[in-house]
Amino acid sequence: MGTAILAENLGKEYRIGGRQEGYKTFREAVVETCISPFRRARNLIMGDASGASGLKETIWALKDVSFEIRQGDIVGIIGRNGSGKSTLLKILSQITEPTSGYAEVRGRVGSLLEVGTGFHPELTGRENIYLSGAILGMRKREIVKKFEEIVAFAEIDKFIDTPVKHYSSGMYLRLAFAVAAHLEPEILLVDEVLAVGDARFQKKCMNKMQDVGQEGRTVLFVSHNMPAVTRLCRNAVLLEEGRILQIGPSHKVVSAYLSSDAGTTAAREWEEKRAPGGEIARLRAVRVRSENGETTDKVDIREPVRIEMEYDVLKPGCRLLPVFYFHNEEGILVFESNDMDPAWRKKPRPAGHWKSTVYIPADFMAEGIVYVGAAMVTLDPVLGQFDEHDAVAFQVYDGNTGDSARGEWPGEIASAVMPLFKWRTEHEQGHAMTEASGAGRAGAR
């Protein structure tokens, strides 16, 4: 088997907004205001990509990335948000050019960076299959050949001639995935599109992915879902801040990610210019704190823990909803918690620096590593501001002292949460137990 993808020192530099230097004098300000449109017009003609906002500062989203992928290999790409995973896929799918380096891809490439790429709401399901198929790179006769299969996979045959804007979101996603799943490129680049639909459909999608692998095609798979990566991929690449941190068998790379600083850290802070976020709010820090306020990555199961996020509100006047969500090592979403503090729940907020903290009671989380995602939405209108998967993580441990929810039981408990509830056990006098009824109960079990 030959090489399917070869990358040598790939790098991608993005321009980001930097604060402009203040004007020193009124004259300078006037001169600058008069000249800058001309300078920008010149940049426009000369093909400088600084845009109308005059972006000057740059960051390297990807730097010195080199690897080789054999034909038929399924490779997971993991790392935090902003580590360059998507940028890498975009470069390999030729959506954007690298700033430096070289890559070669042998074989027909299909990339799935989003579900429903090219769907038009006004067109019917049938029409969208053709349109989206063509956009994803299928030939018309290929689509014709697979049409029935796609419709059957999506389970929408009754609605095939209805405009997709009348579809439920589940139907829409199913159809979109069905089209994508029937692409048959030699190399498939996938960006986390599996996390769609209900559990049954997700399973169907996973099986489809496995089939793709068994057919000897090369797959690059970006995901935050660690169990999926270990299950589907033979090898994995771990990226951090645009560089390759580790590359090798997927279970090794995944466990390195989970246990390394890249995976678990009790506190994360972002500089102003790298802070994830939208126009209204930007995330500046997430921390795990113990009961006495120290940042910690180890929490006794019998003690409470609190998670805080610090963020900047850039535009005043919006109602905001901070959200934390908690995944366990299996990638299961254990629970999610929205900010219900009445103080600011229903009020538009002034701009400035904010902190929101959730208090998780003692004797609630299960043992193991807990990954905390931090997200923020504005409520009017509902707009995502940031969503940082695995922003911080901490370990919940149980010292088997006998007073946690497990009691004296020493064995493994596979439950997602481990709350300590009130129990009452009574020895009820006066209920005489006859031999017959006791035997009956035992039989019923």
Partner: protein, 280 residues
Amino acid sequence: MQEFAKNEEVLVQIRPTRGWVSLQLKRLWDYRELVYFLTWRDVKVRYKQTVLGASWAIIQPLFTMAVFSLFFGKLAKVPSDGIPYPVFSYAALVPWTFFANGLNMASNSLVSSANLIKKVYFPRLAMPLATVLSGGVDFVLAFAVLVGMIYFFGMGITANVVYLPFFLMLTFCTSLGVSLWLSAMNVQFRDIRYIIPFLTQLWMFATPIAYPSALLSDRWRTVYALNPMVGVVEGFRWALLGTNTAPGPMVIVSTGASLLLLLTGSFYFRRMERTFADVV
């Protein structure tokens, strides 16, 4: 897009490019089915959820013609090369509407498909190309009305009509050329969106739609024809109505200007293309 025989090796090399790059027309040709589907989508979607549907394709030039006939034809008594004024102006408005609508929509085509551009690879030229092409359906409808009008006013179509496809091509090239410039600029500078209505309005008056180019002296007419739409409009009138503006220096100048626009537009577009996905 290509479907390859099993053992045929496809090798894509990815490296940064600088400055002016080749047009890669071969690759655009490989994606011809995509161009077809994008055109088809634009045609299908254009008049969805409108009451009057495709009749808009006729209403636009027809109403402009009515207004022109009233103000320029009746009141201002603008000469019309000896042809009934409504036919005179409508024959110009049909290619003009094709040009202006194509320009208008194609210039926004990249920005309105930003999501697609960020998520899928295809030669970006396909986008404005398909949008301008999709105006062809509107053109056919408006053109049918033009033929009807010619007979209604008791005129006949002249034998020059065989040259009409040439003038249609000229309209298409001009519209695409300008769209390539503007759509690529629009990705970075949304000012373009505000310039377009303004630009088409001024351009319309710089084109002999409401008046004949015979108002200008011979010498000035050749310079005037640097506006490719001058050649188009006079060409349409000559081919259909038999006006005495036979193809001469004007059409040659207009064709040259149009091809120049198309060529520079394509290269500029390709030069800017590498940043589309990052900036749009």
